[in-house]
């Protein structure tokens, strides 16, 4: 199988990730739950993972690196921390349900800084018009999970700093391939999965917390600290990490982070962009195929085939040995913004482990679907 669904989860992992996760089972207990060697070893490994993430993402203190189950979990914590019921929020038009559903549950008043696809300057202008004093938070995806469109997050962060509005960045598609700089941006939170561009196992995610940011736990329970208190500890990371840690996941994530740091995000991005450009170029030459591509696109590529339902196209590609994802990609807002809500799209997404041969094979298979 040629796996091109890396925007959902990267399936091919560095061998060290698989080895570390398997090694951790049966060897590592839980950090902060004892002084015995199995707990101490788990604590040391968790700390190394926090340090590795802190170094990669511009966080001065590893305490502000929080382990979560996934990016959705991290975003829920960030949103609950900053947005009160009925609060005011400004979003890009490219957000995932991991952002819009928690806001709906809070009955938040949402304003969308709507702009066309692949127009970062227009996006910045739209945020400039929408972000007013009194807004509880700005939430912006760094890269659209549907179109691979990169939003100008560093500039949006500067705008938020200037206007005193906290910023939450959804880095689900950018962590591991674009530079992230929590402290440099002055963002309140950056949320990311561990199992996509960081090449960790499923069940891992990270929430990076800004300096002095207000935090509200989503889960309450044991932390192995301040146990006599009925309340969650006021300090990070304990405040946001109730319950037993996913140590096999964290052990794998540590190796994934090391892989990314060793490869370099710039090199990974360049590779994914090469494959995206190759696939986009090939697909554009097919008469019935509409391709969504633009400047500064990452390794995520959407397309439609005229006369073929996107789900049917994905199923037929699956039969030909190519794994892609079709539909709305849990991001109906992005599809509305891109004008693809009614039909959906087929999405191919690449990782560091995909090859030019695989991108070429995708184009050939789509050509067969279009009857060429």
């Amino acid at each position: 199988m040629i796996y091109l669904d890396c925007a959902a989860t990267t399936l091919q992992k560095p061998p060290a990730v698989v080895r570390a996760a398997a090694w951790a089972v049966g060897r590592l207990a839980t950090p902060g739950r004892g002084g015995h060697p199995a707990a101490a070893q788990a604590a040391a490994l968790a700390f190394r993972c926090r340090e590795e993430a802190a170094a990669l993402f511009g966080v001065a203190d590893p305490e502000r690196v929080i382990f979560t189950a996934n990016a959705t979990h991290a975003l829920n914590i960030a949103i609950r921390s900053l947005v009160p019921p009925g609060g005011r929020v400004v979003l890009s038009g490219w957000e995932h349900n991991a952002v819009t559903r928690p806001l709906a549950a809070l009955d938040a008043k949402v304003r969308i800084a709507a702009t066309p696809l692949f127009r970062p300057q227009a996006a910045l202008d739209a945020f400039r018009a929408a972000v007013e004093p009194g807004v509880d938070a700005v939430i912006c995806t760094h890269v659209s999970n549907v179109f691979g469109y990169t939003l100008p997050v560093a500039d949006i962060a500067a705008l938020c700093r200037q206007r005193g509005v906290p910023l939450i960045v959804d880095a689900a598609q950018s962590a591991g391939c674009l530079p992230l700089d929590l402290d440099g941006w002055g963002a309140a939170f950056i949320a990311m999965p561990g199992h996509k561009g960081l090449y960790g196992p499923q069940g891992t995610g990270l929430l990076l917390c800004g300096r002095q940011v207000r935090t509200a736990p989503l889960l309450y329970g044991g932390t192995g600290s301040a146990s006599a208190s009925p309340e969650m500890p006021p300090f990070l990371p304990d405040r946001l990490e109730a319950g037993t840690h996913n140590m096999p996941g964290i052990a794998g994530l540590l190796q994934g982070l090391r892989f990314v740091r060793c490869m370099g995000t710039g090199r990974i991005l360049a590779h994914e962009r090469r494959l995206t450009a190759q696939a986009a170029g090939g697909l554009k030459r097919l008469s019935r195929v509409r391709v969504f591509s633009g400047p500064a696109q990452t390794g995520v590529l959407s397309f439609q085939i005229a006369g073929v339902d996107c789900e049917e196209a994905a199923a037929r590609l699956g039969q030909m040995g190519i794994a892609v994802r079709a539909g709305l990609h849990c991001a109906p807002m992005a599809h509305e913004s891109g004008g693809t809500f009614e039909e959906g799209t087929v999405r191919a997404s690449f990782s560091a482990f995909n090859t030019q041969g695989e991108a070429a094979r995708l184009v050939r298979c789509v050509a067969r679907l279009t009857g060429r």
Partner: protein, 84 residues
């Protein structure tokens, strides 16, 4: 043997503290805080040799790390808080 315990607000803070001390050439061990000095219960401390306290406090100040409390113990079950 006489040694000092640097009480930390969390395990991760204790790990940062120990890392900063090790970088300064001071041997540091993380351990669970003894129950009687743990305050709110279940805390972590960093253990250092008696001779290293002054250097340790200097290294922690440079790393912008603040000990919660420091205790002197002779390993006989007695703990005496050191006022900083």
């Amino acid at each position: 043997m006489v040694y000092y315990l640097i009480l930390c607000r969390s395990l991760t803070y204790a790990q940062r503290t120990a890392t900063a001390l090790e970088r300064a050439g001071i041997t540091a061990y993380i351990l669970r805080s003894p129950k009687r000095i743990a305050g709110e219960g279940c805390g972590y401390s960093v253990k250092i040799a008696e001779r290293n306290l002054a250097a340790a406090l200097l290294a922690l100040r440079r790393a912008e790390l603040t000990p919660k409390q420091v205790y002197l113990t002779a390993g006989d079950g007695s703990y005496r808080e050191v006022l900083l």
